[in-house]
């Protein structure tokens, strides 16, 4: 049911207009996601408050919510209809004179209504297996790579939280996956049965990379949540705690101010020695250069540091749209040993700067998520017609057409544990109607995480008409030095409508594309992210150049 949809039939201006709308919609969605996340988090916190844990001893009769002991005659408590826990009279919400629920059941129902889950559930009756992501979500989420991160972030934290907390509500668990156009029912079913976790809500995730055939869905999730492989080496702590800060934008001076107030409940940077010297580091992503970095002072020996510092960036308001604020907390150990204590990433596009006063808020720290799942290839393609010397001859004209595909480079290629850096090259295989294949290879670039081949594939003697019927496989490989077989890193299939991704080429100018590659050999989930519209190019630049 993935809407077979592309904007190719639109004219340039139309496409731009539609993309503009999609972009705005994306902003609305982000806000909505954020709101729902807040609500759910609140609910989770409420649950935690009442959660029993093994370390404490509890009286036999105690309120399941506030742990207050209950009497045998007076203040006996009563059993909640929703969760069948005994709660005291204070932990109840009366819905009407003869009906009440415990605070958590009430909050849970409330969240369900406010998050619009009733609608998704109703709709699921009509579309039972499939998930609820509109096609354009697929499109736009792909466009805005970052929001996928957020999705994953919320998913992974969600799962973590839930597995930690008591599961006192048996909720229907719907963990759905979208493989873009290649919906694999088998995997979907599997993903549903695999989740022994009670996900309190519908979590729709969008998987770009179908994890390789061997590892199941679950494996890929875990690997995502544990990626902490930024090139620098640093320690990892269990992420806990929150950070309090406020954002302010000075419109007159064009200055973005980040007022870092405090952190609480941080993890120890060195757990064994109970040491923690925290400081806060801020980047205005996507810029990760030293110019984009701001740091607070290091506070000694505390897990509840008070910073009270304001970090500033001079930046135009219009630029904020494309930026994300990455606020991370670190432990400064001896000899420049750093331990990552958690981070918060704020997409500034959705941020409301118009308030006069600053509003301080607490934000829970999150683990780092690196979009290793979004391997991308960027390229340009065009159809080139040589000036045919014998223009009268039709066959000659055919021979003089060629398809040129310029492969610039790739990003976020999966790291190979054995090799570390990859020695990568690209294979291009044009499959013409009638199964004829034309193969080409790029040179191998050694030990580069983000290889830039800048290699031109030229496929000669293909007519535009033929091209409509054919498809191009672009695959990225790691050249093994010792073993004979090369390792597959990712691939994409460009082609006519039913054969994967629609592919754009034009006669004269190159059409730029960014392609997210699947990492499974057999099934590649591919999305062409950008074609030749301004907006798209802008994003293209933002993300990859």
């Amino acid at each position: 049911m993935a809407c077979e949809f592309n904007l190719n039939f639109l004219k340039e201006l139309e496409r731009e207009a539609v993309l503009e709308v999609l972009y705005r919609d994306q902003m609305v969605r982000k806000t909505e996601e954020e709101r729902i996340r807040k609500m759910k988090q609140q609910l989770q916190q409420l649950r935690w408050k009442g959660a029993k844990n093994a370390r404490h001893e509890y009286q036999e009769r105690s309120c399941a919510r506030c742990q207050k002991s209950l009497g045998l005659l007076v203040n006996r408590g009563a059993v909640c209809n929703g969760c069948s826990h005994r709660v005291c009279s204070e932990c109840r919400v009366c819905l009407n004179p003869c009906l009440w629920k415990c605070t958590i059941c009430y909050a849970h129902g409330d969240v369900k209504v406010k998050a619009g889950e009733w609608f998704f559930e109703e709709r699921a009756k009509k579309y039972p297996v499939y998930l609820f992501i509109c096609w354009h979500n697929t499109l736009i989420v792909t466009l805005f790579n970052k929001s996928v991160e957020n999705l994953f972030l919320s998913l992974t934290t969600h799962i973590k939280k839930i597995s930690k907390s008591q599961n006192d509500m048996a909720d229907r668990c719907v963990l759905t996956t979208d493989y873009g156009k290649n919906v694999e029912r088998r995997k979907q079913r599997r993903s549903q049965s695999d989740t022994a976790i009670n996900v309190t809500s519908r979590v729709s995730i969008l998987l770009y990379t179908v994890s390789s055939c061997k590892s199941c869905f679950r494996g890929s999730l875990y690997s995502l949540s544990s990626t902490c492989t930024e090139s620098g080496n640093f320690g990892k702590a269990n992420i806990t705690g929150e950070i309090e800060f406020a954002l302010k934008y000075n419109f007159r001076a064009c200055i973005l101010e980040i007022c870092i107030k405090a952190c609480k409940n941080l993890a120890y940077g060195e757990e064994k020695r109970k040491k923690c010297n925290p400081y806060v580091k801020v980047y205005l992503l996507p810029d990760k250069s030293p110019w984009s970095k701001r740091k607070t002072a290091v506070k000694k020996s505390t897990v509840d540091p008070e910073f009270d510092e304001t970090l500033k960036y001079k930046i135009e308001h219009s630029q904020l749209r494309s930026r994300q604020l990455q606020i991370s907390v670190w432990h400064a150990g001896a000899l420049k040993y750093r331990v990552f204590l958690g981070e918060v990433v704020i997409p500034l596009a959705a941020w409301n700067f118009e308030e006069d006063s600053m509003q301080f808020d607490w934000y829970p720290l999150k683990p780092k998520v690196i979009p290793s799942f979004c391997a991308s290839l960027y390229l340009k393609s065009k159809m080139w017609r040589k000036l045919a010397p014998f223009s009268g001859n039709k066959d000659q004209g055919v021979l003089n057409c060629q398809l040129q595909v310029m492969i610039f480079g790739a990003k976020n290629l999966p790291m190979l544990r054995s090799a570390g850096m990859v020695n990568s090259f690209v294979k291009g295989c044009l499959i013409l109607p009638g199964q004829a294949e034309v193969k080409q290879k790029s040179p191998v670039l050694k030990k580069e995480a983000c290889p830039q081949w800048k290699h031109l594939f030229v496929f000669d003697g293909v007519t535009p008409a033929q091209l409509q019927q054919s498809c191009l496989h672009l695959t990225v490989w790691h050249k093994s030095i010792f073993s004979s077989s090369d390792q597959f890193l990712g691939g994409a299939k460009l082609g006519a409508k039913d054969q994967g991704c629609q592919w754009k080429f034009s006669e004269k100018p190159f059409v730029s594309m960014v392609i997210f590659m699947g990492q499974s050999h057999a099934k590649t989930s591919t999305e062409i992210v950008c074609s030749n519209s301004h907006r798209a190019l802008h994003i293209f630049k933002d993300l990859f150049l």
Binding site: A17, K38, L46
Partner: protein, 220 residues
């Protein structure tokens, strides 16, 4: 019930998180029946007689206060032209309610109502709430579709019916508010059947002092 829109919103609306529900509404109907004008009248209280065909899709956001709840509406305006059909139908799935519009001065647009309703049935969820709206009721002189005919068709299709005018601002607000109301009704209905205890959503529960903290407190 009195309804007030908050003028403080406006530009900030899309990033404002201070609301209880979010409803997505889709306006559909033949080309040039006045969908965009209708939306502009409602969202911006403006009207331009010039006809500019919508490219594919567009939307506006408006937060209203209704039934003691702040409801954020994301109202999608679709292109009536056939060539954008693939785009517009993609949005049916996400919509909770529809405004199906025809032009009372255009017989053809009225005849197409049946087709549009089939489109809704095909692409949307089963409980899709639809209002049939006969637009341009200010142009009484050029009327070719009688109110009665409209009403009958609406009854036949099981939709509620309004005649409205985006130009003279007749029944515009009422249409949206009615749609919001019936979506609210549907919502509490679906909650009732799913879980009899969660009726509090609409009745305005009496909270004890241990109530869940308000949602705006927690950030992130």
């Amino acid at each position: 019930m009195a309804s007030a829109t908050d003028s403080r919103y406006g530009q900030k609306e899309s990033s404002d998180q201070n609301f209880d529900y979010m409803f997505k509404i889709l306006i559909i109907g033949n080309s040039s029946v006045g969908k965009t004008s209708f939306l502009f009248r409602y969202a911006d209280d403006s009207f331009t007689p010039a006809f500019v065909s919508t490219v594919g899709i567009d939307f506006k956001v408006k937060t209203i206060y209704r039934n003691d709840k702040r409801i954020k509406l994301q109202i999608w305006d679709t292109a009536g032209q056939e060539r954008y059909r693939t785009i517009t139908t993609a949005y049916y799935r996400g919509a909770m309610g529809f405004i199906l519009m025809y032009d009372i001065t255009n017989e053809e647009s009225f005849n197409a109502v049946q087709d549009w309703s089939t489109q809704i049935k095909t692409y949307s969820w089963d409980n899709a709430q639809v209002l049939l709206v006969g637009n341009k009721c200010d142009m009484e002189d050029e009327r070719v579709v009688s109110s009665e005919k409209g009403r009958q068709l609406a009854e036949h299709l099981g939709f509620e019916f309004f005649e409205a005018s985006a130009k003279d601002n007749i029944n515009v607000k009422q249409t949206f508010e009615r749609l919001v109301d019936i979506i609210c009704e549907k919502m509490s209905e679906s909650l009732d059947t799913a879980d009899p205890a969660v009726t509090g959503a609409k009745q305005g529960p009496q909270l004890t002092d241990q109530q869940a903290p308000p949602h705006q407190d927690c950030a992130c």
